[in-house]
Amino acid sequence: MVKFSDEALRKIEELKKRYQTKTAMTLPVLWLAQEQFGWISDETMKYVAGLLDVPVSHVYGVLSFYTMFNSKPVGKFHLQVCTNVSCMLRGSGQLLDRICKKLNIAVGETTPDKRFTVTEVECLGSCGTAPMLQANDKFYENLTVEKIDHLLENLK
């Protein structure tokens, strides 16, 4: 059964003081859910809706709008490669190709050992340190093919 940790429940109590409505807690509570469970399942969605006294459809609406919320499981390391203009101009296409080739998966897929998921994302505000990728919450910038090889070996 889905249940928040005591720490998460304490944070939710804190959040209540911040906003005029419980609905406003949808994004922060979904963040807490994703931190704890890694992704947002249907069951989690219902649980969050219950906590916030909002319809499940509202939670689903929010979940499906924001790209950072995972509505299906992702690998231990979620590699999000920026391919927008500034990164593109500095070779993000080759990086993405390299990652997919090395891991033997296509964009949007997860490796069979559930270690990596690769997705293509929009500008992450690292244009001055392009090309880059985000692995879970961490930015890896000024990347080269060599650095990618090294990174893939070291993310464990």
């Binding site: 911040r18 906003y19 005029q20 409505t21 609905t23 406003a24 807690m25 949808t26 994004l27 922060p28 979904l30 963040w31 609406g61 929010v62 709008f65 924001y66 790209t67 950072m68 919320f69 391919t83 927008n84 203009v85 500034s86 593109m88 101009l89 500095r90 070779g91 296409g93 080759q94 994302v121 929009e122 500008c123 992450l124 505000g125 690292s126 244009c127 001055g128 340190t129 392009a130 090309p131 985000q134 919450d137 961490k138 930015f139």
Partner: protein, 434 residues
């Protein structure tokens, strides 16, 4: 024009992100000064400084503040916009990392001027590391009594909370940002009513960019008169220019407005790798109109100077493309971005952005018909001005300018029946060291 020798927003002071270091360098003195002034005098000072918003629209900040009702039975809010999702823009994260207290102090002064009891700092979800940095700065400021109940012993109280986004470009649009704080999908709202009348939960609200707020302590401390002498007269102040793409030293450069675009690229960002020629420049983030490489000479980077060449300063995010760049793939990528980020409320944007991408792809793949150039313009023109928010315009402008300035790029990719084969660029022409 005053020559600015010291950096004001991001000075080279080690450890400035720490409260004690910030205080040693005069930190929170502007807030102390503001608290001795009448709130309306603070707004007046910002008005006099001619500070204009740094988020892209260049709206006069003091004027925006003056729209807030003086008396209100409802709570009033300030939203600091750190969504920073416009491709080519990476300046606010520098403030969070290197000078967070300047921004916090500016927000507090703004809150005092408008009688705001709660400040929400909206930061894009991907900036997890920078959210942590700002949160520790906020915590430190709370501990020292700069935020919270009776700020610095005065009768003014205000709270400050970070609201983390979750991956949606549209949430940088002010009304979508408010929807997102309210816990909804990031849908922009029809204006009027404007946020100062009907904002967060229907209460009076003002939304300012992070960099805009970071300018406020400087204005209060040094005076509007002094500040208004920096840079371009009608758009004064220091500005954080982000230079990316084909330059030797990409990065954020703090310079007075009105700096020469060529100085920015060659003097500060180290010029183009391999001394190649510049084919195109996007001057202020992906939504601004493109410039040809041969028209950047003598061009100054401020709101007024860019008007005659049909573009704008936007967020100050300059993207440089060298002579070997396949521009077609770049404009197609931009169209893909807006198609992906359209919230889907307005038909012209939801459908139109998809069509722009689809037609541009035909050119990229050299499968376009001669009539596709007109079709492209027709679709772009029917998006522009016909949507709730400016995302539609942001999608249309780069395409319109591309057709106007790089028509030759489109024409050489048109299918000629029985004629010559159209030009197809080699794959991955666009690289760092090509």
């Amino acid at each position: 024009m005053t020559v600015l020798t010291d950096k004001l927003l991001l000075p080279d002071i080690p450890g400035l992100n720490r409260l004690d270091v910030y205080e040693q360098h005069g930190g929170y003195q502007a807030l102390r000064k503001a608290l001795t002034m009448k709130p309306e005098d603070v707004t007046q000072e910002v008005k006099k400084s001619n500070l204009r918003g740094r988020g892209g629209a260049c709206f006069p900040t003091g004027l925006k503040w003056s729209f807030m009702p003086k008396q209100s039975t409802m709570p009033k809010y300030l939203c600091a916009n750190g969504d920073e999702s416009e491709p080519g823009t990476f300046k606010d994260r520098q403030i969070f990392e290197f000078n967070p207290h300047l921004f916090i102090e500016g927000s507090l002064i703004a809150a005092y001027a408008m009688g705001v009891g709660t400040i929400y700092v909206y930061i894009r979800g991907e900036y997890a590391a920078w959210i942590t940095m700002l949160q520790s700065a906020i915590d430190a400021a709370y501990t020292k009594g700069y935020i919270g109940k009776s700020v610095m012993g005065s009768s003014f109280s205000t709270e400050m909370y970070i609201h983390r986004g979750a991956g949606a470009y549209i949430c940088g649009e002010e009304s979508a940002l408010m929807s997102s704080i309210e816990g909804m999908r990031g849908y922009p709202r029809v204006k009027p009513p404007f946020p100062a009348q009907y904002g967060l939960w229907g209460c009076p609200t003002t939304i300012n960019n992070i960099e805009t707020l970071a300018n406020v302590p400087i204005i209060i401390q040094r005076g509007a008169e002094w500040y208004s002498q920096i840079g371009a007269a009608k758009h004064p102040g220091p500005l954080l220019f982000g230079v990316s793409g084909h330059v030797n030293k990409p990065g954020v450069y703090e310079l007075p407005t009105g700096v020469l675009l060529t100085d920015l690229i060659y003097k500060h960002a180290g010029g183009v790798p391999g001394n190649k020629k510049i084919k195109a420049v996007i001057p202020g983030g992906s939504s601004t109109m493109w410039l040809r490489g041969d028209e950047i000479e003598g061009l100054r980077m401020d709101a007024e100077s860019l008007k005659p060449v049909g573009t704008s300063i936007g967020t100050g995010g300059v993207i440089v493309m060298d002579e070997d760049t396949d521009l077609m793939s770049v404009i197609t990528r931009i169209a893909h971005f807006y198609h992906h980020e359209s919230c889907g409320q307005c038909t012209p944007c939801r459908e139109g952005c998809g069509w722009l991408e689809k037609i541009l792809k035909r050119f990229s793949e050299a499968k376009a018909a001669a009539s596709d150039i007109d079709l492209l313009l027709d679709v772009a023109n029917n998006i522009e001005g016909n949507t709730i928010c400016a995302l539609g315009d942001a999608a249309a402008w780069p395409v319109q300018s591309f057709v106007r300035k790089f028509r030759d790029e489109l024409e050489r990719r048109i299918q000629q029946p029985g004629g010559e084969k159209p030009y197809v660029p080699p794959p991955h022409l666009v690289t760092a060291d090509s």
